[in-house]
């Protein structure tokens, strides 16, 4: 995976490379390639690895220095991700805060919020969960029912309540990834009880360590207690914990989803390149490379990961040049998620009957886990059907489906 991003970042690249060579050793090296955006495997080791990265100053490469970041540009961030993927370092456990909440706060948060929350994210001191979806609000996120009301007589449990008063939050969230580990949640709530749909929503930051927040793990189909349901009953957070403006939560949330549907694909998709390589090794081992039909599918899998890479590079190039990314940025997720599932199907097929055997207590190997978890990739972050609607309506300008 040699990729030269030019002379300007070569020193930086070498620095990353050297650091990774020195630090991705021992237990961390044993957990190469572990984890994913919804894969809780080897959680403790990965958290320790995040702390190692943090100590080395490698979390928040592109975040401003004043909040503990390195203050470098997008290009350096990308170089870092490539080097990181090249050595197959464990997937960062703090991904939710690093890739979603952090960038959202940088974009829409108040100065006080940035000061308060960004450094502990980079220090791996506070973990975050996303509380958007509800039992009745999945694809149709604008139908969230979780309510938040102001209680201006209350005393705040959270610090920095200069504006006085608190939000009292009640409702249910669901599918919160790594919810049981979260110290804080960023929650989409309805703050105007008379409002409907996109209006009257606000994005609140809510601490989980309080009586009004109950988080119960949900077991996923791979047997991991990865995501969670969150019950909020008069949960409290101080009045200044709203990100963006009160009533403008939809805009704030969409900004995060924009990030989720855009640049965060990169680190994950780079891991698919590893899987494609492993697939070729497996095929060779199983003597499948002589089979013209399998050969074709293997090459197709390789093509698809290379296309993902190039698509990402196009988007990145446009972002670095300060341009609005083109249509490929909207098709990238649909493409990657479906092709990744195909790659997993093929790998499973190549593994033959041995691929159907698991370990004690339903312990899955990397291939099995990645394949099963890939089934969620067409569901979360905007399902494939929603992606197609967005592409059709927002990119191609086709008329909307009839809505009630």
């Amino acid at each position: 995976m040699e990729l030269d991003f030019g002379p300007d970042v070569r020193d930086f690249r070498d620095e990353v490379r050297d650091w990774l060579a020195d630090h991705l050793v021992g237990e961390f090296a044993e957990h190469r390639g572990m984890g994913g955006p919804t894969d809780g495997a080897a959680w403790e080791v990965r958290l320790a690895w995040d702390r190692e990265l943090s100590a080395g100053g490698w979390l928040g490469v592109g975040w401003p220095r004043e909040y503990g970041g390195r203050g470098l540009g997008l290009l350096e961030e990308i170089v870092f991700e490539y080097e990181y993927a090249r050595v197959n370092a464990p997937y960062r456990a703090t991904v939710n805060a690093l890739d979603l909440l952090g960038p959202m706060l940088l974009k829409m948060g108040s100065e006080a919020q940035k000061k308060r929350f960004l450094p502990p994210i980079l220090g791996v001191e506070e973990l975050w969960g996303q509380g958007f979806s509800e039992p009745g609000a999945g694809s149709d996120l604008a139908s969230v029912r979780t309510r938040a009301e102001r209680d201006d007589g209350g005393t705040s449990r959270s610090s920095g309540a200069e504006s006085g008063g608190e939000w009292v939050v009640s409702g249910q969230k669901v599918w919160t990834s790594f919810g049981v580990h979260a110290d804080w949640l960023y929650v989409l709530t309805r703050t105007d009880p008379r409002s409907v749909r996109h209006k009257g929503l606000s994005l609140l930051l809510v601490p989980t360590d309080q009586p009004g927040v109950e988080i119960r793990p949900i077991r996923n189909l791979a047997g991991q207690d990865e995501f969670a349901e969150v019950f909020l009953s008069d949960a409290r957070t101080s009045a200044d914990m709203v990100v963006g403006e009160v009533g403008q939560g939809w805009r704030t949330a969409m900004a995060t989803l924009g990030i989720e549907r855009g640049t965060t694909l990169l680190p994950q998709q780079l891991t698919f390149e590893r899987e494609a390589e492993a697939l070729i090794d497996l095929a060779r081992e199983r003597g499948a490379l002589d089979d013209p039909m399998l050969r074709r599918r293997i090459v197709d899998a390789w093509i698809s990961v290379r296309i993902m890479r190039t698509t990402n590079l196009r988007t990145i190039a446009e972002l670095t040049a300060g341009r609005t990314p083109g249509a490929q940025a909207t098709t990238a997720k649909l493409y990657a998620s479906t092709r990744h599932q195909q790659l997993g199907q093929l790998a499973t097929e190549l593994a033959g009957p041995a691929g159907q055997i698991v370990g004690e207590d339903y312990a899955l190997d990397r291939r099995q886990r990645s394949f099963l978890l890939s089934l969620a990739e067409t569901i979360y972050g905007g399902s494939s059907e929603i992606q197609r609607n967005i592409i059709g309506e927002q990119v191609l300008g086709l008329p909307k489906e009839p809505r009630p």
């Binding site: 999945g138 077991r219 189909l221 599932q341 698991v358 339903y362 089934l375 569901i379 809505r403 009630p404």
Partner: protein
């Protein structure tokens, strides 16, 4: 060729479906999945006693009911729909068929009545570490002992329900070719059986080590491959019927959910993205059904070549159709379909394990190409 079901066959389907609705409901499927043995002898006994399912297609002279493969296919389709756990596939689709096809009349008389009555759980031990279903994949050897009997030495693995079987039919290499040998597992010396935990917990497998294990040779030595090939063809068709049933259940679940789950103020089934997906699922299922039924009819009426072709076709098609439909069912369910608690994954995992049970769809395409002379 009669391409519709008779009233009796419709009735058979109804009876089996209602039996399995009671005895292989989701709670039972999950209980057996979580149990390393994965077998409920009481239900097994009732399947044999009340419905005669184990002996349905076993000829009457060996204690069965002498029904045809189309009838048996109906049972497998319903078993697939209900994700029936336990050794039904191993005993009926593999072992009983191997006994029927082997050139050993005495063995049929000795073993088939036990299978038909539900007394004997049996399986076919064919695959080894290399994971192949062809003649070349058989490496385990059987050799003569001093007393003129046979002894098995080697390893079989991925053996469906091999951990529970009372009777193992073992494909082995002997001096002049492939032979089929029988091992009755009770107190058998030199036999070590290890259950293998499976990704699809509804279908159990085992690894079996033979060390100088005494075995009974079935039929003339070195001539068993054609019978085994035919057994695999029959099992491929019955597995296809089972896959069709599983896929149909997954579609039912998807459609039911698409009617009640609302987003944007409308049932999700009203969106073309979902409606068209469900329609495609049905198209796949009906096509798979034709592939599987074609196989069943060939088994009842076709000659050797037709059977071989229909069986490879059925496996090549039905495996992929089931996997696709089961994955689509998860997709239609969204987040809930990705949970352990929801049954959607049970069907998906069954689909994947079925794909690997008798050789992959690619392998069956290759078989088909060869058999067609392409």
């Amino acid at each position: 060729m009669d391409l519709t079901f008779s009233e009796e066959q419709d009735e058979l389907r109804k009876v089996v479906r209602s039996f399995l609705a009671k005895h292989s409901d989701e709670a039972t499927v999950r209980r057996l999945a979580a149990d390393p043995q994965g077998h409920d002898p009481v239900v097994w006994g009732r399947m044999a006693g009340e419905l005669g399912l184990q002996g349905l297609a076993v000829p009457e002279e060996y204690g069965g009911s002498g029904f045809g493969y189309v009838d048996l296919g109906i049972v497998f389709e319903e078993a697939g729909r209900a994700l029936l756990g336990g050794p039904y596939f191993a005993t009926v689709a593999l072992a009983a068929e191997a006994l029927r096809r082997c050139a050993d009349e005495q063995a049929r008389h000795d073993f088939l009545p036990g299978v038909a009555s539900g007394e004997t759980v049996a399986t076919l031990a064919l695959t080894e570490d290399i994971g192949r279903w062809d003649e070349q994949g058989i490496g385990l050897t059987a050799a003569h002992d001093e007393r003129g009997g046979w002894r098995l030495t080697g390893v079989k693995t991925y053996v469906p329900d091999g951990h529970l079987a009372d009777l193992l039919l073992v494909a082995a290499r002997t001096p002049s070719g492939i032979s089929l040998l029988a091992v009755e597992t009770t107190d058998a010396p030199g036999l070590a059986r290890t259950p293998l935990p499976t990704l699809d917990q509804t279908r159990k497998q085992a690894r079996i080590e033979f060390t100088d294990t005494p075995a009974r040779l079935l039929g003339p030595e070195g001539t068993a491959w054609p019978a085994l090939e035919r057994t695999l063809a029959t099992a491929a068709v019955l597995l296809s019927a089972e896959q069709v049933g599983g896929a149909a259940a997954a579609l039912d679940a998807a459609v039911e959910y698409a009617k009640i789950r609302e987003q944007y103020g409308r049932p999700i089934g009203s969106f073309q993205g979902i409606k068209h997906k469900c329609a495609d699922m049905l198209m796949e299922i009906e096509s798979a059904r034709s592939a599987a039924y074609g196989g069943l009819w060939a088994l009842d009426t076709g000659d050797r070549t037709e059977i071989a072709i229909a069986a490879a076709l059925a496996q090549a098609y039905c495996s992929e159709a089931f996997t696709k439909v089961a994955a689509d069912n998860i997709q239609v369910h969204g987040g809930i379909g990705f949970t352990w608690e929801h049954p959607a994954h049970l069907y998906f995992k069954r689909a994947k394990s079925s794909e690997a049970l008798l050789g992959t769809p690619s392998y069956h395409r290759e078989l088909l190409a060869t058999r067609l002379g392409i």
